[in-house]
């Protein structure tokens, strides 16, 4: 074999490998756009959810940490200061006029001021927040259990989910943030509507005046700037029908992994 021929052959092989790699990549990206392929991949979410629901006991608690374990700074992500005039007006008076509304499939629709929420039994927990992006922060949350509120308003038998409607739109004028959780997670001991972070009033960047804490799922489920709760049978008619702002944009409804 002459060196010249070897070189050509090598060039040919390298070129071939590059072409193969490029077409594989293009093929994979094209597959990502196909509905049937995307729904096949989505199938894994159902499997993960089913297996985790079997393995994870309903009442299993997320690990709680000590004061010393807390992050020096609890990072604010996504919206960190909602620009909506309605929200800004409430914020300028320290949320004195804020009322959390609870409606939908409940026996006695009601609303609660922050002072009323603070007068209810509270729960404090130091937990780790895991963002879908990959980072983790540990903070001390104090708030009222969602179960306590649901008990007050009385959940109708048909209700299956709690939808959390928020003040903020991630993009100005865009869709408002919202999330949904099933009753199992809603009634979980560590699921709270937090009004304090690290022994101080919940800062603006972290979701003032009230944010959901749902400790066994990723951070995007823990909606900030909570405005109103709605008990529903299904969430098909809300937003784009996937049960949450990020869910409507391709993220899993079940964010346990």
């Amino acid at each position: 074999m002459t060196p010249r021929k070897g070189l050509n052959r090598r060039q040919f092989a390298i070129r071939g490998l590059q072409l193969l790699g490029a077409s594989l990549l293009a093929g994979c990206d094209a597959l990502s756009q196909r509905d049937w392929f995307a729904s096949m991949l989505e199938g894994a979410e159902g499997l993960t959810r089913t297996v985790q629901k079997i393995i994870v006991p309903r009442r299993a608690l997320a690990r709680e940490f000590t004061d010393a374990d807390r992050s020096p700074v609890f990072r604010g992500n996504g919206t960190i200061n909602p620009s909506e005039p309605e929200y800004q007006a409430l914020a300028s008076t320290g949320f004195a006029a804020y009322r959390l509304e609870i409606g939908g499939l409940v026996e006695r629709p009601a609303s609660f001021s922050l002072a009323e929420l603070r007068s209810l039994p509270s729960r404090t927990q130091i937990t780790r927040h895991d963002c879908v992006e990959g980072w983790s922060a540990i903070g001390k949350w104090k708030g009222v259990r969602l179960a306590t509120l649901l008990e007050r308003v009385g959940v109708k038998p048909a209700a299956r989910y709690v939808v959390v409607h928020c003040f903020d739109a991630l993009k100005e004028g865009g869709d408002k943030y919202y999330e949904s959780l099933d009753l199992e997670d809603a009634l979980h001991e560590q699921t709270i509507l937090a009004y304090d972070l690290n022994d101080e009033r919940l800062p603006l960047t972290n979701g003032a005046p009230l944010r959901l804490r749902i400790e066994r799922q990723l951070g995007y489920k823990a909606a900030k700037y909570v405005r109103r709760l709605e008990l529903v049978e299904g969430f098909d008619a809300i937003g784009r029908g996937k049960g949450g702002y990020w869910e409507d944009r391709g993220y899993e409804w079940y964010a346990g992994i």
Binding site: G21, C28, L41, A44, A62, S71, R75, G134, Y251
Partner: protein
């Protein structure tokens, strides 16, 4: 002089199937994993990710001239990795901030939600395939017969290592069996590295952490688990590189055919090694 040859059935169907499924899964899992990593291209130790305590960070910086440069920061030391790590461009466009470049990620563009879908689907395939193969290998004797090193094997580790370094590979009947370094590396990957990667992956799941609270602690915390997941994956890539190298130098075509059809050709005792 033509040397006498014979063909042996070297790889059973389950071995071949699981081999290629593993190869497919690895490519998809690594590339979609890098897509997920790119959403927060830093690694830490412990439970938390304090920004000032990153072990590794891929970032883009702007020079005074307005140029975008890619920087890889390892334990506080910075390296210029423009074009590959920290900042790269898709096609011919401007450099933009991106951990790993688009040719290494699945999907190519920044698309975390789709990267997660690929990753978790193929993670299931990888795990079920691995469990299926291990169970089959255990029950049908492949593990005990072909993979578990014998006492003689273990005593010949040094000699085998020297042979590898000198590119003296077994021939004849000896080539029909795995040598001791081969056995140990296969066992290490199947029962060490792969389970480690799966366990560190699971340790990042908040729901699983509520069920098995000691799991992230096993690796020093959730962020450590993420770091180990990343490093162990690159160890797996290292194994694949070594594997491909050995496959090539010990007879690319013969080896490739045997992992596709099962049939492997060996020369009789005393013959030259097969470097077809």
């Amino acid at each position: 002089m033509a040397l006498p040859e014979r063909r042996i059935y070297r790889h059973a169907l389950p071995t071949r199937l699981s081999h290629w499924l593993t190869a497919l899964c690895l490519v998809v899992l690594i590339m979609s994993g890098l897509q997920i990593f790119n959403a927060h291209p830093s690694l830490y130790w412990g439970e938390r990710s304090d920004p000032d305590r990153a072990l590794l960070r891929l970032k883009a910086v702007e020079t005074p001239e307005g140029e975008t440069r890619g920087v890889t920061e390892i334990l506080g030391r910075e390296f210029d990795t423009t074009g590959v790590l920290g900042a790269s461009h898709e096609g011919g466009g401007e450099f933009e901030e991106r951990g790993f470049p688009s040719w290494a990620t699945l999907p190519g563009p920044q698309w975390l939600a789709m990267g997660r879908r690929w990753h978790f689907f193929f993670a299931w395939v990888f795990v079920l395939n691995g469990l299926g193969f291990s169970l089959w290998a255990l029950v049908r004797g492949h593990l005990a017969r072909d993979l578990w090193p014998t006492g003689a094997d273990l005593r010949s580790i040094a000699r085998s290592a020297i042979d590898h370094v000198r590119f003296r590979h077994p021939t004849g009947a000896a080539a029909s069996r795995y040598n001791v370094l081969q056995k140990l590396s296969y066992l290490g990957v199947i029962f060490g590295l792969a389970p480690l990667i799966v366990a560190t992956g699971l340790a990042m799941s908040p729901a699983l952490d509520a069920t098995v609270p000691w799991l992230p602690g096993l690796f020093g915390g959730r962020q450590s688990a993420r770091t180990v997941h990343f490093v162990a994956t690159f160890a797996f890539v290292g194994f694949v590189a070594g594997h491909l190298f050995m496959v090539t130098v010990t007879g690319l075509w013969n080896n490739t055919r045997s992992i596709i059809t099962g049939w492997y050709r060996i020369r009789s005792e005393g013959g030259m090694d097969d470097t077809a």
